[in-house]
């Protein structure tokens, strides 16, 4: 969760400028809700329980979970007002996430 907190903190002023941060995970909704409230960040948490959307994006790490289940590849995608991809980052090591500063720069460059 550290990367979400970092991103939320870095983007808080950009948020006021009207950026929507949509966080997708296979987590159940109740859990995401608690998470969102705990972090008090302007995130929209959506649940991709069966990873159908994650799969369509080509972002599934097969058998990458602690119990051998499929999990998402951590990725961050910046879309402009027209819904076009302007910047994205897909990690090749799940410990490594994009620097919130890089995401912020991509958002500010829109």
């Amino acid at each position: 969760m550290a990367e979400l907190q970092g991103l939320g903190a870095a983007l808080s002023d950009a948020e006021r400028a009207g950026v929507e941060i949509v966080a997708l995970s296979p987590d159940p909704n109740e859990h995401s809700q608690k998470l969102a409230e705990g972090l008090r960040l302007g995130y929209k948490f959506v649940s991709d329980r069966d990873l159908a959307v994650t799969r369509r994006y080509g972002l599934v790490h097969p058998h990458g979970g602690s119990e051998g289940q499929d999990v998402p590849r951590p990725a961050t995608i910046v879309l402009d007002r027209d819904g076009v991809v302007r910047w994205f980052s897909v990690t090749d090591n799940f410990q490594v996430r994009p620097d919130p500063g890089d995401v912020l720069r991509a958002v500010r460059a829109l």
Binding site: S25, Y57, L79, D99
Partner: protein, 130 residues
């Protein structure tokens, strides 16, 4: 330097590396360079070997045993387990990604295309809070 001192230094580097990585995990520059802890374990192993060369006493053996185990476990975690295999992604800069509708935290449907013409969107795919 005396063997026991080198052994203590080895343990200090190994556990200091772990502590620093855990404590500074929130800082992107630290989190995004996990090889830091692998390097710390390698330095600790080298110091333990040096301690053994000086004198074959138990503190040096303890330091060597611990640092070798940490180096092996840390390398395996960082270079093998944490690797995410490359999969063909549909993402292209300048193109629209697939649309989707998914339930938000209160069960209301969120459709990506609804933001079109209104707001830029940052999509964050994450593994969940496990």
């Amino acid at each position: 330097m005396a063997s026991a001192r080198l052994a203590a230094l080895s343990l200090g580097v190994a556990f200091g590396g772990i502590a620093a990585y855990v404590l500074l995990f929130r800082i992107a520059a630290v989190r995004n360079h996990p090889t830091i802890y692998v390097a710390a374990f390698a330095v600790a192993t080298a110091l333990a070997v040096l301690a053994l060369v000086r004198a074959r006493r138990w503190p040096a053996w303890v330091a060597l045993g611990l640092s070798v185990v940490l180096l092996a476990a840390g390398s395996w975690f960082n270079f093998v387990m944490a690797r995410v295999p490359t999969t063909p992604s549909v993402l292209r800069v300048g193109e629209r990604p697939p649309d989707f509708t998914l339930p938000d935290a209160s069960g209301r449907p969120v459709t990506l295309a609804d933001y079109r013409g209104k707001k830029p969107v940052v999509l964050v795919f994450y593994r969940g809070a496990w």
